[in-house]
Amino acid sequence: MFRFNKITYILSRIFIAVIIVGILFPLIWILSLSFRDSSHIFQAYGFIIPKYLRPQNYLDALNFYNNVLEVNFFRMFLNSIIVTGATLLLAISSAAIASYAFSHLKFILKDMLYFLLVISMMIPAQILIIPLFYLFSKIKLLDTYLAIILPYTALGIPICVLILTSFFQNIPKELRDAAVIDGASDFTYFIKIVMPLSKAALATCVIFLFLFAWNEFLMASVFIKNNTILPVPVGMSLLKGGPYIVPWGVYAAAINLSIFPVLITFLVFQKWFIRGVTLGALKG
C-alpha cells in the first residue's frame, strides 16, 4: 500500500489540524460567547473560557423569545418535530411503496414516470413558492403545519424513490414470485419481506429527509407567519434584524439552544448520518 514521504506526511497532518481548528472554532467561540456578559466579550476576560460565567444568558434567551418575539422556544422545537416527523412518515411510506412498484412490478408508462421523478429532483424549490402560496391561501392551508409538510413531502419523495428503487432492485425477483405463488399479495410481501430487508436504505432516506425538513427556511418563512407554529429555522432568523437589541451573550445562547438537540441527535446517530451520505453518493 502507498505511503506518504516524510514531508507530505507532516504537511498533511498540519493541513488536517488547520481544518479541524477552522471547523470547530466558530462553534466553540459561540459556546464561549454564550456564557459571557456583553461587556466582557474579549480576551481580557478569558480567551476561550470566560472568567465570569453567566449561564443567565440561556434563561434570558428563553425569556426574550417568550416575551419579545412571543414565540415559545420549546413550542418551536415541537413544531419542527411535528413537521419533520410528518414529512418522514408521509414521504417514506409513499416513496417506499412506489419504489416497490418501480422495481418489482410492471405497469404502463413506468419508465417515463420514473424519469420524471428523477429529473424533478433538479427543480429548485423557489419555483413552487408562488403557486403554492396562492393554492394554499385559496384552500386555507397557509399558517398550518400542512402548508410546509406537503411541499417537503413532495420534494422529498423523488430522492427517496431513487434510493429505495435502486436498493429494491437488488432483492431477487424469484423471492416475490415464490411469495405470490404461495398466495401472498404484493402488499403483504412488501410489508413482511421487502421493508425489513431494506433498513439501511430506509435509514438513508430518514437522514436526507431529516436534514432537509429540519433545516428548510425559505418555504417555512413564506408559508408560516403564525408565531405559535414557527419551526426552528424561522424562529432563529428572528434573532437578527427587528427593532430590538439582543446582547451578544443572549444571541449566542439562543443559537446554542437550537444547536444542542441537533448535536445530541448527531452524536447518537453519527454512524447513520455518515453512512447515509455515503450510500446516497454511491447510489446516486
Binding site: 500500500m1 506518504f4 393554492l135 406537503l150 413564506v222 455518515i274
Partner: protein, 301 residues
C-alpha cells in the same frame, strides 16, 4: 374460475395503487404548480387579485431583461454557485485524498467533526458567522492578535466581496459533506489498482492525477451537480446577512423573489413578474448547462 380472475385483476391493479400516493404528491405539489407558474408569466398578476385576468404576452420577460436588479441577482447567484462548486469540491477532495492515502489516527472522529456543520441549519450557521464577522467580532480581533490588523475590516459592509465571504461560509458548512461523498468514491476503488501503480513507480502526484481521479470521475461529477443545484437555490445565508440589500447590491435570485413577492415592508406582491424571473433564470442555467455539456463532450472526443 371467477376467483382466479379476481386474483389476476388484483395483481394487475396493484402497481397503480402503489404509485398513487407518490403520483398525487408529484402532480399536485410539483407538476401543477410548475405549469401554473409558467402560465402566469404571460399575465399581469399583482397582489390580491386573481391570476389570469390581464393577458400581457411577453411584457414580463421584456421588463425582466431591462431590470438591472435581475442582472445583479443573476451575477451574484453565479458567483456564489461557481465559488461554491470550485472551493467546496476542491478542499473536500484534498481532505478525502489525505484520508485515503494518509492513514490518520482518529480518522472517524476527525471525519465526524468536519462533517458536523452540515447537519446544522444554514440559518443558524449564518447567525454564527454574522457574529464572528462583526467589526468588533472575532475575525477582526484575531487578525489584530496575529499582527495582521491592516486586514481587519467591517466585513459585513464589504458588499463588493460579500458573495465571496458567503461562499467561504457555505464551504465551511458543507466541505465535510462533500468530503464524505468523495471518500465513499475513493473507497470503492480496488486497492490492487493502487498497489499495481505504486509498484510501477507512480508517485503521489501521478497516483492522484492519473489513477485515482479518472476512476472516481462519476463521483466528482455527482458532487459538482449537487453543489451546483445547491448554489442555485441559495437563500438562507444571503437573507440572514443582508436580505439582498443595500439597494439590491447583494441580491440573489431567491432573495429578489422574496423581495418582489413576499416582503411585507416592500409590499410589492409581483407574483407573475417573480415567476417570470425564476423561469428565465432556470432557462439561462439550463442553456449554460447544455453548452458546458457540449464543450466537455467535445473535449472528450
Amino acid at each position: 374460475m371467477l376467483n382466479q380472475r379476481l386474483q389476476n385483476l388484483k395483481y394487475k391493479t396493484t402497481p397503480y395503487l402503489f404509485i398513487t400516493p407518490t403520483l398525487i404528491f408529484f402532480l399536485a405539489i410539483l407538476g401543477f404548480p410548475i405549469l401554473f407558474s409558467f402560465s402566469v408569466t404571460f399575465f399581469n398578476w399583482v397582489g390580491n387579485k386573481p391570476p389570469f385576468l390581464e393577458f400581457i404576452g411577453l411584457k414580463n420577460y421584456y421588463d425582466l431583461f431591462r431590470d438591472i436588479n435581475f442582472y445583479t441577482a443573476l451575477k451574484n447567484t453565479f458567483i456564489f454557485t461557481i465559488g461554491t462548486v470550485i472551493f467546496q469540491n476542491l478542499i473536500a477532495y484534498i481532505i478525502a485524498l489525505l484520508f485515503y492515502f494518509g492513514r490518520f489516527k482518529f480518522e472517524n472522529i476527525i471525519k465526524t467533526t468536519v462533517f458536523f456543520p452540515a447537519v446544522l441549519a444554514p440559518v443558524v450557521v449564518s447567525l454564527v458567522w454574522k457574529n464572528m464577522l462583526l467589526s468588533d467580532g472575532f475575525v477582526n480581533y484575531f487578525l489584530n492578535a496575529i499582527k495582521l490588523g491592516i486586514f481587519a475590516k467591517p466585513w459585513l459592509m464589504q458588499f463588493n466581496i460579500l458573495m465571496w465571504i458567503l461562499v467561504g461560509i457555505n464551504v465551511w458548512q458543507y466541505v465535510g459533506y462533500n468530503m464524505i461523498i468523495f471518500y465513499a468514491g475513493l473507497q470503492s476503488i480496488d486497492p490492487q489498482v493502487i498497489e499495481a501503480a505504486t509498484i510501477d513507480g507512480a508517485g503521489l502526484r501521478t497516483l492522484i492525477t492519473r489513477v485515482v481521479t479518472p476512476i472516481i470521475k462519476p463521483t466528482i461529477i455527482l458532487a459538482v451537480i449537487l453543489t451546483t443545484l445547491g448554489g442555485f437555490k441559495v437563500f438562507d445565508i444571503v437573507f440572514i446577512f443582508t436580505k439582498g440589500g443595500p439597494i439590491h447590491l447583494t441580491e440573489v435570485i431567491t432573495t429578489y423573489l422574496y423581495f418582489l413577492s413576499f416582503d411585507y415592508t416592500a409590499g410589492l406582491s409581483k407574483f407573475s413578474y417573480s415567476s417570470t424571473m425564476i423561469f428565465a433564470s432556470m432557462f439561462i442555467v439550463f442553456i449554460i448547462g447544455i453548452i458546458r455539456y457540449r464543450v466537455t463532450i467535445r473535449k472528450v472526443t
